[in-house]
Structures are given as C-alpha cells and as structure tokens.
Amino acid sequence: MGRVTELLASEADPAERDLLRKAAGGNLFAFEEIVRRYQRRVYGVALRIVRRHDVADDVAQDTFIRAWRALGSFDLARPFGPWICRIAANLAVNHVRSPRSREESLPEGHDEQPTAAADALDDVLDAEARAVLGRALLALPAEQRAVFVLRVHEELSYKEIAETLDLSIGTVMSRLSRAREKLREALRPYLGAPAVRAGSGES
C-alpha cells in the first residue's frame, strides 16, 4: 500500500528521479539534495521509535549513509520514501534492541514536548492527552512501538511492516493490536472527548 501521496509525488517528480539517478551514479551533491528532501521524514521515523533526539540523530544519519551505499540496488521506478523509511525503521529498532541503548536511560519523553508555537492542533487536542499518549508510547515495548509507528505514521501495510521488521504478518497483527489496546487503555479518559472524536469520523 504505502503512502499514496508518496507514490504520486514520486511519479510526478522527474527532478527527484533525476537526482536519484545521479546519486546512484555517485554524485554526492545530488544525494545531499535527496537527504534534504527526506531528512525530516527519516528523522521522524527514527525519533518515534527511539524516543530520543540524540539517538534519532544517529539513526537518521546512519540511514542516509546506508541508503547511499545501497543506492545502486535501489529500483528507480519505485518510490524512494518507503524504501528509506524502512531502512530507518530497521536501524531504529536494532538500536533499541541493542545493549548500548540500555546504558542510555530513557528520559521521560522530553523529546515529545509540544513546541510553544501553537497551531490549529492545539485547539483540537489538549496538551494533557498528548502528554499521556507520549508516556504511554514510551512505555510500550520497542517492538510494539515500531509496528505502531510504521502503521500509523508511515501507513505501511501489514505485509510491508512484516518485511521491514522481519516478522510474520500474524505477529504484526497481534503486536499492533496489543499496542493499540495498551494505548487505548491509557488514553481512555481522553478518547471520548468530542473534539477528538470529531477528528476520527473516518470509520
């Protein structure tokens, strides 16, 4: 499935295709432009999984470096976004699993502080619900969090998540269900809020 917008954007952006071709040919400056285009998204995937800026920074940089190395094998006909996000998700999950990450204690979600700049979202979602959700996400096992991030934020299909994290589709399904259940439990008091409910009228 992937992101429909992503697919369309990639189809419709010959300039990006051109950059990718040059980058695959070894042009580092073309690649740097690609980095600029995808840095926020890659960082976002990493941060949502590892939950720390400095670690997400490492993961994001590593992601692009791995992508640069593997670019020769990347099929230019495919959208680049999902591909690089998979690399990011992989590295992020591996990092959380690694013994190194245990040395670095997880601070209480300080990376999830909403910025002072108030936007329309602040009208809809109150800060408390976000704080509760931030803590609940932090409390999830990393594996569940990764599945949740790839599904909810990156909109990958179960099959794509399974491929990315090397799991069975059944495992993806059950982890996602468990993650959502824990988050739902934590957020119950807020989920009934009319404003939130208004935002979820899609199903």
Partner: protein, 383 residues
C-alpha cells in the same frame, strides 16, 4: 464473544482482514455498541498519535545534509566502533587487492581524468574496481594473503609496513562470506536483501592516506593510483553552486581540509581497534595501550574533531569501569561543549543540553556540577 471481535478490530480498522472476516465484524458491530465504541476509540487514538509532533531541536536540519555528506566523504567519529568492521573489512580488502594485484589494477586504472562536476562521483568507479577485483582472479590472492597475515611474524618484507597498519582488519577481509557472517543484526537482513554492499568510498580517503604514507616508505604507484582517484576533488573542479549552496567553489578547499580534519580525528578514533592500538604502541612506545589516557591526550582544533572526541568518550563510558565511566561521561559533555564553542551551532548546543540532562538525572552521576558548568559555559557562548 465480543472480546474475540475486539482483537480483530485493529486489523479491521486497517482493512487488513479477509473479506469474510470483515463481513462478520460488520455484522457484529451493528449489534454491539460496545465494540463499535471500542473501534471508535482505536481510530481516535490513531488520530491523536498522528498529531503528536516529532520535533527536532531548532536548527537541527540546517546542516544535517552537510553532516551526512561529510560522513560519506570521510568516516567521522560519529560512526560507532561497532560498525567499524563492516567497512574496515572492505577497506582492507580493497587495499590488499591494490597491493597484491598491481598488474590488474594498473590495467584498469588508466589515469582518471576526473571531469570537474564528477570529481565527487566517487563511488561507482571504486566500487566497480573492487567488485571486479573480488569477483575476478584477485580473490584467491586475497585469501592467500590473509592466511599469511594471520601469522604476524611471517615475513613478506615488501608489505611489512602495510601489514602493520592494517593487519588486524585484514584478518577480517575475505569479502562477501565473511561480511555476511559478521555483519551483525545491526544492519538487519532486510538491508542485505536490499542489496546492501559496504561501499568502498568511505574507505578510499583513509586508504589514500595510508597509501600516501606507505608510498613514502616503499613506492608502490599502482596502490596509490588505485585508491587515490576518488579522494581529492579535481583541481579544476567547479561545483554546481545550486547544490553546494554556501560551500561553492571558493570554500571548497576549506571544505576539503575540514574533511581531512575529520579523517585525522577518525584515525585516532579507530585507536580502539587492535590495528590502531598497535600503531599507537609503536609511536608512543608503551607496551600497554590505555584508551583513557589516549583520549585524555587528544587535542581538538575543529568542531568535527570535538564531536568525534565526544563520541569516543561516550563509547568509552560504555566499557570502562564505573569511576572511569563517570569521568568519561563528563568528558563527553565537555567535548560537546567544545564542539559548541568551535561551531556555534544550535545543533551542538541542543545535543549538549540533551547529554547534560541525561547525565544529571543518572543515579550514579558523580560530577553533576562539572557537567552543568560545561553547559553554562556553552550557553553563554551562544548568547
């Protein structure tokens, strides 16, 4: 009954159920307000989660791509020791190939008249050479050479200097299989499936440096030619300014020297590897290598080096005994403050704040004041 349905609601929401399963749930939802509500809550949860910002510190992305480029151009200390094997392996293989198969290489490398715009187009030529070499007749030579290397005393005087520099890494060189075997969980099988190949481009600079040194003591033109082309930007290079932005041609030399600075920092960083440890021993003439002392003695002149030192202290803290680890953590913070001083970049300051916050909240932190002082000093600089 309804509990059973609830377990499927997540997949129902994602439209990942088989048509029959989906239809059954549709039916159930019509008669079960509880499950319907449950579904609504899960959907609301997703919406709320999507609205959560994944904010980076202000200014973080300003130089992100430049940092990535710098790391591709030259492996900087930001690379963790645990990843060293992956590239060093290929580096060693490339270097070995170059040394051991001069004829092969000489044939392939008619002097590269690197056209201006492609002077940074480093990867493919080098990669092809390497892969060609590995796939071709060179492979047996490599294996043989590695067997020889395994025995440090075994003579082969001609490559003695080279082996001193690279022996430890060469142990791991036998290309593909070894990489597959060793390439740890770290990378993940997915990446291998994606065709991940440790690219030689990062190594070329390091190699070239080693080569240059080696060439000084024992002229080996083929070696230099083989590893050199990707290294130095062509002198006539004028880069497309749109891409380069603030680093357009005039600043190029500066950028290049910055990169070399990174390479130097990196060189010391790899001191954690046996190879470099041996090198260290040779120069310092001490029988035991003490990474702590080595780090204490490090001089830092650029922000890149300061960041490198910071990472090394961090890495050292992971393996050092408790008291030393605490000192290493604080030293990492001080190196981070130094990076702020040298770069005046918001990113470095943000990182420092993070590091200090992490440190002072540790139960075993012994030098909270010192850590805070470093942060205060750095904050003052930015004002």
């Amino acid at each position: 009954m309804s509990a059973h349905v609830r377990e499927s609601l997540s997949a129902y929401l994602d439209d990942e159920l088989l048509p029959a399963e989906r239809a059954a749930i549709d039916v159930h939802l019509r008669d079960c307000p509880e499950c319907a509500r449950h579904l609504e809550e899960v959907a609301a949860l997703d919406t709320l989660a999507r609205a959560l910002p994944a904010e980076a510190p202000t200014g973080y992305f300003d130089d992100f791509s430049a940092r990535v480029r710098a790391r591709i151009g030259v492996p900087t200390p930001a690379q963790r020791p645990r990843r060293l094997p992956v590239w060093s392996l290929a580096a060693a293989a490339a270097l070995l190939l170059a040394v051991l198969t001069p004829t092969l290489v000489r044939e392939q490398s008619a002097p590269p008249p690197a056209p201006a715009a492609d002077s940074f187009a480093v990867a493919p030529p080098a990669q092809q050479q390497l892969e060609g070499g590995l796939a071709g007749e060179a492979a047996p030579a490599v294996t043989l050479a590695l067997d020889a290397v395994a025995d440090k005393k075994s003579a082969a005087s001609k490559t003695r200097e080279f082996r001193n520099e690279n022996g430890a890494e060469a142990d791991r060189a036998p290309a593909q299989e070894a990489r597959t075997r060793q390439a740890p969980k770290d990378v993940g099988e997915e990446l291998q499936a994606l065709g991940y190949v440790a690219s030689p481009m990062e190594k070329s600079k390091v190699e070239a440096r080693d080569d240059a040194r080696a060439a000084g003591s024992q002229p080996e033109p083929a070696t230099v030619v083989a590893a050199a082309p990707p290294v130095t930007p062509g002198p006539a290079a004028t880069q497309p300014s749109a891409m380069l932005r603030d680093e357009a041609s005039p600043g190029k030399a500066a950028a290049a020297s910055e990169l070399r600075g990174g390479a130097l920092a990196y060189e010391t960083e790899t001191a954690e590897t046996k190879t470099a440890a041996r090198r260290q021993n040779r120069t310092a003439d001490t029988p035991v290598y003490d990474p702590f002392q080595a780090l204490l003695g490090r001089r830092v002149a650029t922000a890149v080096e300061a960041r490198g030192l910071r990472e090394e202290w961090r890495a050292h803290a992971l393996t050092a005994p408790a008291g030393e680890a605490d000192e290493a953590r604080v030293r990492a913070i001080e190196a981070g403050a130094l990076a702020v001083k040298l770069s005046r970049e918001a990113t470095d300051l943000a990182r420092l704040r993070n590091d200090v916050a992490d440190y002072v909240t540790r139960a075993d932190a012994l030098q909270v004041k010192r850590a805070r002082a470093a942060l205060r000093a750095a904050e003052a600089l930015r004002r």
